[in-house]
């Protein structure tokens, strides 16, 4: 087992930053939660104060995440800015945070999307509670991405459910109760398995080393029998694939995405879905290299089915939000495919695509919310010819749609390309089928776009006028569009920070997972992995 590799993955990369005086990451995680508690003291009626506290906090988090981004050493794998404090000492749980190439941009993306979710969706009932929940959700999401202690990760991972539940159930649409409950119970049951898996792993580790610890870096050193590794991997993965979601564990998502309020959809699809894929990359790959190699084909099959199936079902949707929900299923399929293809290219692509998907899906939901605000419907049927009234909205929508179907020059392309190219190297036929997904994506996205924006205006336009985007709406969507274009044209600064970590990770998985058989690029990975797994 390559200890040096593990050190490279999890070790503190830059010693200078390790002892940094200011605990950026801890503040990053706790700031929104703290503001939420502060907010509880503010009277409900002072809406302006409530709003401004929410906005200032989320913007402060954004600024802080920018600082983290700035402090991050590019070209270096491993965790940076780590901070470790014992939390529940008798149980071996510690408050340990760290950021590396995998989590950095997810953090920045979350920090960016929360102010947008808060700002971009207009007035609402009971502003205070909403802001409190959203801030708590932000803390939970950031905590999940930054935790390097498995249990702390799990805590935050679970903690996202509660605010998300309240946001859906409290401010959602028609069938919000059903959707919220389904979302909560489904993901809760799935992550229950994760908890058992985590604990089992910790005890196997303890039986080998005598140390009870939940630290990812320590746990990655655990020697697992092939059976144990497989079961643990399954317990981890079930939680992640439900959260992502991956076919066939997705049926909560169309309901949840569709019934959630706009900001809820943005956070759900943009950020919380990434918790699942992030978990796959961060934990599945690092902790269970042997088992991952064996089971990768299965998950890749699910990913590929998700790509095709998600596209096909999306094409039959008559509701804009459900359409985007199913398109998310397809995109998550790409990410899972990339993550389990286990090449540097595909995993980097998967990580990048998490960010990309977050950005353009958020933008899509934001735009759909603008349409809803003007027309009161998500149904594609009654919406026609909106481009006549709002060419700018239409144009913005076009850009986002193009990003979502992976047009080069916009951000969706690079991730998808890396995933497919990387997958093609090791698993040719998966990539071939998945490539079909980009055709389907064009079909359903353009169909939806055409229905809503093109065609003559319907004779009875949906109630009232359809005004062009207001300046505040433009201000909210503009950063997303800028990022969509920027990441499409010049993703190199992002990738240069992602790839060192991913390279280490992939090397670790491939070397450990294949044990002594050097097999990059050979197709018969499954059998080798079995030999490797039993040989250890």
């Amino acid at each position: 087992m390559g200890h040096s590799e593990l050190a490279a993955i999890f070790g503190v990369a830059a010693s200078s930053s390790a002892q940094r005086a200011f605990p950026f990451l801890t503040v990053l995680v706790l700031l929104p939660a703290g503001a939420a508690f502060l907010l509880l003291l503010v009277p409900k009626s002072v809406t302006t104060a409530v709003r401004s506290i929410g906005i200032v906090t989320t913007l402060a988090v954004l600024a802080l995440s920018a600082v983290v981004f700035g402090e991050f050493h590019s070209g270096v794998g491993g965790l940076q800015m780590t901070s470790v404090h014992p939390w529940v000492a008798p149980l071996g749980i510690s408050w340990s945070l760290g950021v590396d190439g995998i989590s950095l941009f997810l953090v920045v993306m979350s920090a960016l999307l929360f102010p947008i979710a808060l700002l971009g969706t207009g007035e609402r009932e009971n502003e205070k509670s909403f802001t409190v929940w959203l801030l708590l959700l932000e803390s939970a999401c950031l905590g999940s991405f930054l935790s390097t202690d498995v249990l702390v990760f799990f805590l935050f991972f679970e903690a996202t459910l509660v605010p998300a539940y309240f946001i859906i159930a409290g401010w959602g649409h028609e069938r919000r109760g059903y959707a919220a409950t389904k979302f909560f119970v489904y993901t809760f049951v799935a992550s229950a398995m994760l908890l058992v898996g985590i604990i089992a792993l910790v005890f196997i580790h303890k039986s080998q080393t005598g140390v009870t610890t939940f630290s990812v870096s320590a746990l990655a050193n655990t020697h697992l029998s092939s059976m144990a590794g497989m079961l643990l991997l399954l317990s981890f993965t079930i939680a992640f694939v439900v959260k992502a979601p991956v076919f066939p564990f997705h049926t909560w998502s169309p309901d949840a995405y569709a019934e959630a309020p706009a900001s809820g959809s943005i956070v759900l699809a943009g950020i919380m879905a990434k918790l699942g894929t992030y978990g796959i990359v961060r934990f599945d790959l690092a902790l269970f290299p042997h088992a991952v190699v064996v089971i990768a084909p299965l998950l890749m099959v699910l990913g590929v089915i998700g790509i095709i199936y998600g596209g096909i079902v999306a094409a039959a949707q008559r509701d804009l939000k459900r359409l985007v929900a199913y398109s998310s299923l397809a995109h998550m399929g790409f990410i899972v495919l990339g993550a389990f293809a286990l090449t540097s290219e595909s995993v980097s692509g998967a990580v990048l695509q998490m960010v990309n998907h977050g950005i353009y899906t958020a933008a899509l939901f934001l735009l759909i919310a603008m349409i809803y605000k003007r027309t009161g419907t998500f149904q594609i049927g009654p919406l026609r010819g909106l481009q006549h009234r709002a060419p700018l909205l239409a144009g913005t929508f076009t850009v986002v749609v193009m990003a979502s179907i992976g047009v080069p020059g916009l951000n969706g392309f690079v991730g998808e390309f890396l995933i497919l190219a990387g997958t093609f190297i090791t698993h040719r036929w998966y990539a071939v089928v998945a490539t079909g997904g980009i055709v389907i994506a064009a079909i359903y996205m353009l169909w939806g776009y055409q229905q809503v924006f093109h065609s003559p205006e319907s004779e009875a336009p949906p109630e009232g006028a359809f005004p062009e985007m207001t300046w505040s709406e433009r201000a909210v969507i503009a950063p997303l569009i800028v990022i969509i274009v920027f990441l499409g044209v010049w993703p190199a600064p992002i990738l240069s920070r992602i790839t060192p970590t991913v390279d280490n990770l992939v090397n670790h998985v491939v070397q450990v997972g294949h044990a002594n058989v050097p097999a990059p690029g050979l197709p018969a990975i499954t059998t080798q992995a079995l030999q490797g797994g039993s040989g250890q």
Partner: protein
């Protein structure tokens, strides 16, 4: 000077940016002029770089111009950069040249359109994308341009988005293109997997390590991409629908430039194609088949632009025939001349449509040569050119293709030659229906209601007229080019084959040279001239005065061999049904049904178990005693003695 190459795409990009930001404020004529000027500047830059390249030694004419690292992960390193070589500069020159003219023409053509600035915005974006496509130094930059032109094509075909037909056509174009793109992407992946690089120059230097099967696979996958973009069998039906876009768009994108990107791509990967003869033969046969199918479909169309659209399909088939025969120069040569005469024909058609008040049905035209003499003249030049009548440019370029086909196999030549006759005939049919015969547009509407879709209100009381100068100047320039285009590559003397010598550093190694026997060349030329003229004559006799000849316009040709209908019937509709089935049955009933079913079962179990709780205290005591019995029984079993 070669470093100035970045200016070539930069000008149209700047135009795009300018119009995107200030398009509305710049207003109607100004934005068009700015766009045109920037494309013209791009043309100038191209010429300068071209000359700089020309001044170099032939062996030093392949220059990589890397700009910056786009993205990199694992082995994959992708730079944004240009490849300046004779092929790309030839393409750039003709793209910017033709684009400039069509921009100029559009200023007039679109003057009354409310989306005027947006139109030029898209056009500039298109030119930028097209230039990135042809100048791209690696497959990804090319793919960037490739997708970019596809997207612009989508925007421009669906430009009049209020018309359902237009938006559907745009979507259709995009989807067909995407199918091709998927193939292209897979080809790119295969190239990357086998050579570890995507930079053209590097790829070609590593081909030795790639197995023959892989090369065939790569070539065919690239051809799938090319077929989508260049409307080859079986992916051609979108092109006819794409005629819903404004005519300058049809001229620029769907005749001169974008659709030829596939041909360019195949020429670009000529080293691969050269090593994969099986793939090349496939390309040749598909090309010639497309040429024939397209030409036949052109014989029965009634829409002035659709005739030209199928003609484009057919001509592109010729180009692929050339590519498949290894005659890359011939393909490029035909591409250039085709760009001239097809753009000319489209712009001529545009003038007619413009003059006829947006009427497109050729059966409702007639005798327009009296009202639009210049258009008629230039259209005629275009016709003769495409027909291959000597000494028009088409004669030389098409001849070149056919000679190469003969040397591969006479069968290819035979189909190509037959197609040449048909080509001369159907464009002639269109020419006579539009410019000769009686003034059918003056008739009352009532007789024409069922004749076609074009019979709208404005047809009555028409006063066909020659368009303004911005529109006629491009016509004239293009007709000159269409007439004299042949001198680019005159096969009469080895020193006169300029194009061939110019391109040889790129495709030279694979250059197919049929010029060893002058007699053979002359013999071919004679036969081809006869074929072209026979088509022209046939058109003259059949269509000079007659409007309807149902036997010559069979329905299956009008519907382009029913291929589109077949796709709809056998692919689109089953797919829609599958989608509906997946969404309503598989997803909601099966997958979600399983989830809800589990929940339901748990709930039902809870409900059943609840009934055990009867409320009678003695029942509860029974439960206790029962539990005790079981528990004691267990311990009894575990007891040792």
């Amino acid at each position: 000077m070669i470093h100035a190459a970045f200016l070539i795409p930069a000008f149209p990009l700047a135009g795009f940016a300018l119009l995107a930001l200030f398009g509305k404020r710049l207003g109607n004529p100004l934005s068009g002029w700015i766009a045109t000027a920037l494309v013209a500047l791009s043309f100038v830059a191209t010429v300068i770089v071209f000359i700089a390249l020309f001044q170099r030694a032939p062996s030093a004419r392949i220059v990589n111009e890397p700009w910056f690292n786009w993205f990199a992960a694992g082995r994959l390193r992708v730079n944004v950069g240009l490849l300046i070589d004779p092929l790309s500069m030839t393409m750039a020159a003709f793209v910017t040249g033709v684009s400039s003219l069509i921009h100029l023409y559009s200023i007039g053509y679109m003057e009354h359109d409310e989306g005027y600035p947006k139109f030029f915005l898209y056009l500039n974006l298109f030119v930028f994308s097209m230039l990135m496509l042809v100048l791209g130094g690696n497959l990804i930059v090319t793919f960037f341009g490739w997708e970019g032109v596809g997207v612009c094509s989508y925007f421009l075909v669906a430009f009049w988005f209020g018309r359902p037909a237009a938006t559907s056509a745009g979507k259709k174009a995009m989807i067909y293109n995407r199918i091709g793109d998927a193939g292209l992407l897979l080809g790119i992946f295969l190239v990357f997997e086998r050579t570890g690089s995507l930079q053209y120059t590097t790829i070609f230097s590593r081909l030795g390590n790639v197995s023959g099967t892989d090369l065939v696979a790569i070539a065919l996958l690239f051809f799938l991409g090319a077929a989508g973009k260049s409307a080859q069998l079986p992916l051609f039906p979108w092109l006819a629908d794409a005629m819903e876009g404004p005519t300058p768009v049809s001229a620029l994108i769907h005749a001169a430039t974008m659709v030829t990107a596939g041909v360019y791509l195949m020429c670009r990967i000529s080293p691969i194609l050269h090593l994969a003869p099986d793939a090349a033969h496939t390309v040749a046969w598909i090309g010639v088949a497309t040429a024939f199918v397209g030409a036949m479909a052109g014989c029965a169309q009634t829409d002035i632009k659709k005739v030209l659209a199928y003609s484009t399909v057919s001509q592109l088939g010729y180009m692929f025939l050339a590519v498949g025969c290894g005659a890359y120069v011939a393909a490029i040569f035909l591409m250039l001349t085709h760009a001239f005469y097809k753009a000319l024909l489209f712009l001529g058609a545009g003038s007619v449509i413009h003059g006829m008040g947006d009427e497109q049905n050729i059966k409702l035209m007639g005798a327009l040569r009296k009202y639009m003499p210049l258009t008629a003249l230039t259209f005629g030049i275009g016709w003769f050119s495409i027909a291959g009548v000597p000494p028009f440019s088409g004669f030389f370029s098409k001849g070149n293709v056919l000679e190469n086909a003969w040397s591969v196999t006479p069968a290819l030549w035979a189909v190509g030659a037959l197609t040449a006759v048909v080509t001369a005939y159907y464009v002639g049919r269109e020419y006579f229906l539009v410019f000769y015969g009686s003034e059918r547009w003056a008739k009352s509407d009532s007789e024409l209601v069922d004749a076609g879709h074009g019979g709208h209100e404005g047809a009555r009381g028409l006063h066909p007229h020659e368009p303004g100068r911005v529109m006629t100047i491009p016509l004239v320039v293009l007709s000159v080019a269409a007439f004299f285009g042949g001198i680019l590559n005159l096969p009469v003397h080895p020193h006169l084959v300029f194009l061939e010598r110019w391109l040889s550093p790129v495709v030279g190694a694979t250059l197919f040279n049929p010029h060893d026997s002058p007699g053979k060349v002359w013999a071919f030329s004679l036969v081809e001239a006869v074929l072209a003229l026979s088509g022209v004559v046939a058109a003259y006799f059949l269509w000079r005065d007659t409007v309807d000849r149902p036997k010559l316009e069979p329905r299956f040709l009008l519907h382009a061999w029913y291929i589109d209908a077949a796709y709809d019937r056998f692919i689109a509709r089953p797919s829609t049904a599958l989608a509906t089935f997946s969404a309503t049955v598989v997803d909601t009933k099966v997958i979600d049904g399983a989830v809800r079913g589990i929940a339901g079962v748990v709930g039902t179990i809870g409900g059943r178990l609840r009934k055990v709780q009867t409320g009678y205290v003695r029942n509860y005591a029974l439960g206790i005693i029962g539990g005790t019995v079981v528990l004691v029984a267990y311990f009894l079993i575990r007891a040792k003695g």
